[in-house]
Amino acid sequence: MTSTPLNIVAFCCEHCAYAAADLAGGLRLQYPPEVKIVQIPCTGRIDVLAVLHALEAGADGVLAAG
């Protein structure tokens, strides 16, 4: 059993989106727990295959943010 019914994998560039997620935490902005953040060095690193693998593994959505 997963802890939540949905899982969104969010690939976040460490230069911007990951830092923004940090700030969201600092500001105590609440967002759905379904979002699971994966730190990446740059959105350029996101491979099409990485997205497909995530979906194949069971992700309900993939967010690339950078």
Binding site: M1, T2, S3, T4, N7, V9, E14, H15, C16, Y18, A19, A20, A21, D22, L23, A24, G25, G26, L27, R28, L29, Q30, Y31, P33, K36, I37, V38, Q39, I40, P41, C42, G44, R45, I46, D47, V48, L49, A50, H53, A54, E56, A57, G58, A59
Partner: protein, 1538 residues
Amino acid sequence: MKNRDGVVAVPAPRQEVSRLDIVRISSPVRGDAMSDPKATLTPQSPVGAVMVVGGGIAGMQAALDLADQGFKVYLVESQSAIGGKMAQLDKTFPTNDCAMCTISPRLVEVGRHPNIALLTDTEVLDVRGQAGDFTVRLRHHPRYIDPAKCIGCGDCAKVCPVIVPDRFNEGLSVRRAAYKLYPQAVPNAYAIEKKGIAPCRDACPAGQRAQGYIALIREGRWDDALRVIKLDNPFPGICGRICNHRCETACNRGLLDEPINIRALKRFVTDKVYARPRQPVEPAPRLYPQRVAIIGAGPCGLTAAQDLVRAGYGVTVFEAMPVAGGMLRLGVPEYRLPTEIIEREVQDIVDLGVDLRLNHRVDNLDDVFAEGFDAVLIAVGSHEGVRLPIPGADLDGVLINTHFLRDVRLGRYGPGGDAPPLGQRVLVLGGGNVAIDVARSAVRLGREVHLACLEARDAMPAHPWEVDAAEEEGVTIHAGRSFERILGDERGHVRGVECQRVVSFHFDETGHLHVEKEPDSTHVLPCDTVIFSVGQRAGLAFIPDDAGVGLTPKQTIAVNPNTLAATRQGVFAAGDSVSGTAFVIEAVESGHIAARSIIRYLQGEHLEPPRKPELPVVRLTREELEARVARGELHRQPRVPLPELPVEQRVNNFAEVEGGYDDESAQREAARCLACGVCSECMSCTFACGVNAIDHDMAPRDETVHVGAVILAPGYQVYRAELSEEYGLGRYPNVITALQFERLLSASGPTMGHIQRPSDGRTPRRIAFLQCVGSRDQNHDYCSAVCCMYATKEAVMAKEHEPDLDVHVFMMDMRAFSKGYWGYFERARDRYGVHYTRCRISALYEDPVTHDLILRYQDEDGALHQERFDLAVLSVGMEISPQVRELGRRLGIELDEYGFCHTVLFNPLETSRPGIYAVGPFREPKDIPESVIEASGAAAAAAARLGAARFSLTVTPEFPPERDVRGEEPRIGVFVCHCGSNIGGYLDVPAVAEYARTLPGVVHAEDNLYTCSQDSIKHIAEQIVEHRLNRVVVASCTPLTHAPLFQDCLRSAGLNPYLFEMANIRNQCSWVHSHDWETATAKARDLVRMAVARAALLEPQHTLEVPVKQAALVVGGGAAGMSAALSLADQGFPVHLVEREAELGGNLRHVFVPRNGTDPQQVLRSLIERVRAHPAITLYLGSQVVASSGFRGNFTSTIQSADGGRTIIQHGATILATGAQEYRGPEYGYGSDPRIVTQQEFEARLAAGDDLPTSVVMIQCVGPAEQYCSRICCTVALKNALALKQRRPDAQVVILYRDIRTYGFKERLYTQARAAGVLFVRYDDAHRPQVTADSDLTVRAWDPALHRDLLFRPDLLVLSMPAVPRQDAHQVAGLFKASLDGDGFFQEAHVKLRPVDFATEGVFMAGMAHYPKLLDETLIQASAAAARAARVLSRETLTAGGRVAVVDPAKCTGCLTCVRICPFDVPRIEPTLIGVGGVQGAATIEAAVCQGCGSCAAECPAGAIQLMHYTDAQMRAKVRALFEPAGFVPLDRIGERT
């Protein structure tokens, strides 16, 4: 010529370079020193350290540039964190980048740099010595939190009750006294703001932290409030009732309306807490064998008993009476102080472990010592009432106050007790508080009570409110009477007191009373009982004369007033027995002092207390308070009234008279507190801090450091626009400054990025920006250079937030003078629909009902308008703060009347004191990139002075050798952090750690209170060794700030730092799912599991050292190229300077007219002379670079001379300074008529000095300048216009312009030109000037103000042609893998923060090829490029590798995808490599320059590229683990392609 055609130049090895004459290498100084670099000598061995003052973006840049090239840097910042103004900004123009996202990585870099000492809260006191060897005295102000211990968890701020305006948010929100400047602050540590001691605390003998408990009451934290009171006073309930509250007299609020009702609030707290069942008190542990005897269980003795027993000593209190409490219990009537309160507070002390012996009178001091006590405290009070020696004093019916009150209090006369020994008419003699107590007690016993005293009614020693209460209860007061004698009746019983009326009285120095009486005023006050209440003294009979304890003439015990030690060793005395009758709060303080002395005595220390640093008392003035009221920060509000028992209900019983506040009224009263001291030392933070980082006793500390140079980057302050009263800032809530608006826009600002107007929180519909507030006015003759653009940016961002907003900007000129600015303005106007009106607004009016703002203005057509706006934003200009002016004065550098630091053209960054440099807005108002450029430039100048001392003071962190973990099964350690309550308060941390233990590969898991504390870091290192861990996962906060810390921990334990992974369960779980414990816990488990899965696959990564060719190539021999070459050569690096033309000078050869008094041609001559003479510069004239390859630190280039000869050179860095040229297009008839010339041609004629025209028309913004601002044309036109007017004052000069863009101090040229009679006519794009050139030269221009065409017939039409890129710019860019912007100028790596870097590493730019700029700007940028290059060249090797892309050539098809996709132009096809199918040629990626973004790895169709540390397998394992909660796939299958 030193051109060595055809020779392969081998750069000099580093040793040779540093052998160059160091004196020669010293930087030139002011004035004509450019031609004589030896003018001031830098010491032979300068100090290899630099002090940078100011931690804003400029200071950080200078610090990094210097530290990275081998200098120790002291970065001095006056605030508690670095970041400066940029950290306050929301976005930056013209790219709309998030300011914080841009600056944050740099903050972290500065904070972690091993060679930057970050000195926050620090000011510079003075600088002595000379360039190369300065001695700087610094003062570190206390921040009260040790940044080395603080881990930034914020627990202190959570509990801090003090609210102050948040200055970081420009006063739009509040913060606590314990605060972090902003969320991303570096150092990531909190600070406490403490202005001083609040006057209430200062006035209290016991130093009660009234401000602290008042703030806690406001917060509804009753228990904490009581704890604060009890820190200094064990009798809060008692003092809350009977204290004389000098705190209230001192309260600053009294200057405004009424003091805070502090005593009532204190009582309120005790009532609240005491209403609940009493919590048992834990006995204090006994730490020492010594025992102390205390004689007397009054407030003084019990206070000392408490302190001593808490300190770990044995304490016995001897009390003669059957009850404890002393005068509180026996002297103060019940109606003022209920017994149960006393009993409770006494019990709290006794339960600590005090041995209280009631009914135990001490008869002899020696007996006490004989019992084995090590010290004795005499605190017997003054219980002996005084009977005046007047006739009749011993008559029947004459009583003594103390005995009477004691008997009443002990219940002797209560129901079932004796009848009170009172007649029907009682006369109390005395006017003090005790006399009032006596009188009011007698009233309650049902007697008619009179009171007679020596003093006049309004001069009675009793508190006025006590006297009033007595009168209300029926006491008749006979003031101003002397007591002659007491008359008795025949039975010897009192029948009256004979008095006279008193005119005046005084006590002489021996204490004798002298009374002047009214003649013939003798009269009798009839009574049948007299109670003396004229003073008390101590009963000291137990001290025999031979006990060795001395007494004073007043029959008190003689003590040292500082230590309270009596004349006999081991004996101390305190309280009323020393001081005579005083108030309970004084007894308490006396008890504290005695206890401290006794402890020192028992510890064998010197008895005199050590001096404590004294904070100033914060005394506000009426004016300050009125100003705060005027600004709306404070409102007049009298005391919240206190309920009181009506008189009729109180005269016949001993019920408590005074009522208390209820919760709501107490909190309302508490909210009136002004928090004068800011921090109140309530110690809430100290109790809350889990890492013991708080120290309220920190004091300022001075330090002396030695540096070779000083760089001043102190920044600016925004104009305090409340001084321009016409705009109503401070008075009208909806008028704000642009910096305030910036905070409103910021997602981390007070409204979380929602634009709300302050008066009602409503989203505004119409916003007006008012330009030039504090710039270009009577008090500021300069332009602040940034306001036009930031207002445009804020307007655009406002429209982004609220597309329906109507935004108007009221301005004089649109000063969009720099790169990308004009296009940005046009987008704002055309795409976002921001309205721009050319009008300076002179005043704002407020509609007092709606708080809307009313603007009246005239448009360009002359029509008058009146409009209403919801919000007005003042575009405030830049000023230099008084603190910075003071700094300038202390350092002995010249500043102008505004405080700006002017420099000379020859040496544009050095102040009047050699070795001290100035950068940023401190020199002249300017924006971020130029401040950054100047910072780098100053770094180069300092480095040139100190080059010989590079790496002399720097350190390299040392780590043990790495353990080889290859081939080992993963042994993962997981450390889950509570982060105090930040994580632990919102999710089940132990459960997450427990869960981690079950995951594959995990051999150790634990939870830590603070994983990043020094102790925990050490502990983790120990665990790594103990459990032979080979991978570490920390589940805590964000890797962006904390990963390097933990990675260093791994290195210290012998592990490769790449064997580390983090799970961010704070920012991504506890803080964002803070209302759902289960969900947050479950997600934390998920994130830990994902981290563990990736960790299992992590591999060590090793860096390699790539040698650096320590020479530079500078392309372009103009002012920029020559300056850059000289700067590098002065720093000791060989330079190859290539100029395509046969002579040096570039565009500077065409500049003749000085702008600031310095002859540009003199600058040129001196530059050429120095370049030619410099032994480290190899000059290649008439030559071009025809090939260049390699990477940062290791380039190879081919230089071809005019005759075709080639030189191949090797260099580590490249500076491109290829210049620009004046546009020569056909606009306005240029080229068709000799009377139409360019500005450059005109300047040449001015320089020649003959044939000067009598009338000139200049047209600005010609040709391409309609698309981008060429920046220099306005200044050049004004300069030339003034030069003409100077030589021919009768000459008529007309300037046709779109905007006059004289930014900064160049505004003064504009002012001078207008004063000199130069005529300015504005045109817009719809009405361009029309030029016809036949026999007459005519220029026709539309005057919008006059609504008609103007016709000019000048001798000469001067066209301000813009600077345009050279035709071969594309070729140059291609050769060096540099990129160009849309206008053909060089494109910098980052507009704001990397303004002289290309995206291609190791290649830098300077001069007009980057963008048009003035000579001083060019010279500065050249130095900056040199500094950036020196950052590469100063190292013998560069570290490469780690997170880089690696190609497996065997899989590479050579398809070029990676070559095309790489944003940094790193991959290339190496023909010698063998690719797929054995075909020659495969991609290779140079580790030294790979940025590690992974784009190539993602795009490679053959899967031939892997990004180390982010391999496909690692990423896939992490994602897949999310969906395999039972414990993911076995390790050996992870990463398989399925």
